[in-house]
Subunit: 344 residues, 2 copies
């Protein structure tokens, strides 16, 4: 899934060039490319599909030359994750009704790729033999209020796979005291938005819990892969309800499992999490750019295009981000106002 | 005089595009253009001469289309103000040995143009009839340690012109306690680096006090205005001593007068003086740029190219300056380190 607009990272990320297409970490690969890299040992590249906005199609093709161009599906408008997953599920079903799929965001961070691979392979082996949808539950390390939580029934692991447990409930982003309560319990996990299941399981779940969405993509079965696909999608897609896969399917379906996992995950949804997850200098600054010079400055993130020479003196706890035609300087503590700043 | 490199205003000002060529004040005219504007009622534009570095010749011609292109004299290297004044004095002498000239820096600020005109016209009327060189003495408003001072003999004004007084001495940039002492006395003035005199007076002063420099420019009299001028200047100029007009002539010559003046002058030599002399918002910020948005920020200067959107949150007392490929954020109190920062 690569259709997000990344407004919280303005001006590093903009509608024209959102977070998934940016080398956020300064490692030479965009978040999207790093996401693909994680799957290279898991799935042949010709089996990868990307759903994105029509205006990002060209960028996906440029950044991911390894995947077939006709596997880049274009949403004519944003309708959250449920229509996105439905579209790609039916589309893959047309190619291979027995496919087993992993649905994943394209702008998250995973530090331990080997463990990620092991966990994904484990869940795929489970969903290949069952009608379950598995979601990955991240071991919480702090009372994060920016994530949804998964409540698991840890009493009895699946008989088929001892790493998998039934989900009791999905919990929306909590307030701080609720989050503090959650993380004291062993059966609460962060919802990373990564879902694994066979394509027929996804399709069947949509048929049962989202008949209107299902009907639309089912009707298009004859034209997937033909010249009329985009035209018809452009017609049908806007009619879909704007709803997340969590609400549309996960909270309703029966056979929902969680695999608790710990592979150094972050959604990198805030400058704070970017700071936390990046390499720091001895003054706790994260410097992303080739020519950044800090004097008497601590606890900052500086993100710039690679050609720019940046000199920062005397700042503590600031975000400094700039691109060709925008510059933001603001305190970390005010980062929730960045959307407001971007509209100033 | 438009040959300076403006290193104290990095990165707004760079060797490629120094301060005199920049719209420092955000008024739509560069400092050089504002300087020419001040002389428009004083002197016909075809009598204006500019001495600059050879690499800025094109920029001067572009910014000052009103003046004759062959009045832009090009220094092949920097040799401070004495060789610069000598060159233009001999060059003008060739055109008009009776000329009366004003020598002025091109990157200073004058707020009261009418009073400037009046003062310049007064000094010109004096030097047209005498062999004096007149320097303008600015009424000091604070114990500035960044300027040189002029000590005047206020006891007897010139018999010809009651605004003019003999100079007792030129004083170098003082330390703070000395500056505090100076500004308590009525006869100490800031040296604005503006000199007025007839061209024959300047030339004669050079002949007496700087015979080596004089000899070089005197020898070129036959080739001024010919195709060989630049070639010969390129040969002769580097051999000149690197010395200021103050040291070379003013401190040595006999007939040196000062006209005390008060027309809102600043050399705009520091970000501090730029801040002091510019229009401020109600939070005491100076914002130069078309698209700058301040939140909870006070006592800052922000200078940017006009297309850039800049958002600043939570800064007090900072300089934020950027151009195409450079960005500086530093405290006002550290501005004397800007040269160091520029070399980082």
């Amino acid at each position: 899934m690569a259709g997000g607009v990344g407004s919280r990272f303005w001006p590093m990320s903009t509608t024209e060039n959102p977070k998934q297409f940016i080398d956020v970490l300064g490692v030479g690969r965009s978040m999207l490319q790093l996401t693909l890299d994680r799957f290279k040992e898991v799935v042949p590249m010709e089996n990868v599909w990307v759903v994105t906005s029509e205006k990002y199609g060209k960028m996906v093709a440029e950044q991911l030359p390894e995947i077939p161009v006709n596997h880049i599906l274009l949403e004519p408008c944003r309708r959250n994750t449920a229509p996105c997953v439905a579209y790609v599920a039916w589309r893959i079903k047309k190619e291979n009704p027995k496919a087993n799929i992993v649905v994943a965001p394209s702008d998250h961070l995973v530090l331990n790729g080997k463990e990620f691979e092991r966990v994904i392979n484990n869940t795929l082996s489970f969903t290949a033999e069952t009608d379950a949808i598995v979601t990955l539950g991240m071991k919480p390390t702090r009372p994060e209020t920016g994530y949804g939580y998964i409540e698991a029934d840890l009493s009895t692991p699946s008989a088929r796979n001892k790493e998998l447990f039934r989900v009791d409930s999905f919990r929306e982003k909590p307030d701080l005291s609720t989050a503090q309560r959650y993380i004291k319990k062993p059966n609460y996990f962060w919802n990373a938005g990564i879902f694994v299941g066979s394509v027929s399981t996804f399709v069947n779940a949509f048929r049962i819990y989202q008949p209107e969405i299902s009907q639309r993509f089912e009707n298009l079965l004859p034209i997937y892969g033909t010249d009329q696909e985009q035209e018809m999608i452009n017609k049908v897609y806007p009619e879909c309800e704007n709803i997340s896969i969590d609400y549309a399917i996960m909270e309703k379906a029966e056979e929902i499992f969680v695999q608790p996992a710990d592979f150094g995950w972050s959604d990198l949804g805030t400058w704070g999490s970017l700071h936390e997850n990046s390499k720091k200098d001895i003054y706790n600054n994260v410097l992303i750019g080739e020519n950044i010079h800090m004097f008497e400055s601590t606890n900052c993130v500086v993100h710039t295009t690679q050609e720019k020479k940046v000199v920062v003196q005397g700042l503590d706890g600031y975000i400094i981000a700039e691109n060709d035609d925008k510059l933001l300087i603001c305190k970390f503590t005010e980062e929730q106002r960045i959307r407001q700043f971007s509209e100033a």
